[in-house]
């Protein structure tokens, strides 16, 4: 069961980050140079592969309880950050993530940027740099989740498979649609991913600190249910407070 939840969590997180990276890539690719954009993507993917290849085996060599305590704790801090932002977005205290708006802004910026003389195989350094940065930063979140989930569960290849499946789906959809995937319910996905990261963080962090969960693995479902109910209640509560973007009553 943990394996299924692991793959699902990594898949959903990777879809979210993949959609964000795709928006940046499309913005520079369609307005400037696809050739340099592709080089930027390739260089970023290479850097991410090195990150996972070095960190993955290094982490799996650490004793499992110490690993779960440290990595579970990091995952919990990271997951709570996601969940906090998701609750603030859902309750109107933070603007919703809008891929079309981001695409429009990035496209305008790419058009305004000056043109430099082509150097070597890169004909447009702006496209290369923006694509590299976008893919690297969004990909780093995927890599972090892959490494922490995979190492804790003792199955990095399974986590990589979940991420790879998501990237294939996003890239295929991007190639077909050729515009930002604004119909992907990104804000809802971020909410779900925040719940999963937080729940796994609580579960593994506690295990690493010496806790034996009642019901063993089944307790993870209980933790997920608790965090889901908590987050939904917080959204309902905050939605009624003054100062949110929905009511506008500061």
């Amino acid at each position: 069961m943990r394996d299924v939840l692991l793959v699902l969590s990594v898949f959903l997180a990777s879809v979210v980050e993949g959609v964000e990276a795709l928006t940046i890539v499309l913005a520079v690719g369609t307005t400037r140079s696809w050739r340099s954009t592709r080089y930027g993507i390739g260089a970023a993917l290479l850097a991410l592969a090195v990150f996972v290849a070095i960190l993955g085996p290094a982490l799996t060599s650490i004793p499992i309880n110490a690993l779960r305590l440290v990595i579970g704790g990091l995952l919990l801090i990271f997951g709570l950050q996601w969940l906090r932002k998701a609750v603030l977005r859902a309750s109107g205290f933070k603007p919703l993530h809008d891929e079309v708006a981001i695409f429009t802004k990035a496209t305008a910026k790419a058009r305004k940027a000056g043109v430099a003389e082509p150097e070597g195989i890169i004909d447009d350094w702006y496209s290369f740099t923006i694509a590299f940065k976008g893919v690297l930063l969004e990909g780093l979140e995927i890599a972090f989740i892959v490494v922490t989930f995979g190492a804790n569960q003792g199955s990095i290849p399974l986590a990589i498979a979940g991420a790879a499946a998501a990237i294939i789906v996003v890239v295929a959809a991007g190639m077909v649609v050729h515009q930002p995937l604004s119909r992907v319910p990104e804000n809802t996905l971020k909410f779900v991913v925040g719940i999963m990261l937080t729940s796994f963080g609580i579960f593994w962090g506690s295990e690493g600190a010496g806790v034996h969960w009642p019901g063993s693995d089944a307790a993870l479902l209980g933790v997920i249910a608790l965090i889901t109910i908590t987050a939904l209640t917080q959204v309902a509560w905050l939605s009624h407070l003054p100062g949110n973007l929905k009511t506008g009553n500061a």
Partner: protein
């Protein structure tokens, strides 16, 4: 020096994010659980979920209050 500060700043923002109190709460919570489990030999599986719910609620409330 500026590169090291930027590098550390990036990782701080990447993992800790907007509210450092949550990170401190997680570290305190896990240390507390490890101490209770290994010293008092008591199972406190409920402690971290309780702390997380409380910390998240407090963090959200403080953010909402500032708006």
């Amino acid at each position: 020096m500026i590169y090291i500060r930027r590098f550390l700043g990036f990782w701080y923002h990447f993992i800790v994010g907007d509210d450092w109190r949550i990170a401190v709460g997680v570290v305190v919570g896990l240390s507390l659980i490890a101490s209770i489990t290994h010293v008092a030999h008591t199972q406190v599986w409920w402690l971290l979920p309780t702390m997380v719910v409380t910390m998240l609620t407090l963090s959200l409330w403080l953010t909402a209050r500032r708006r």
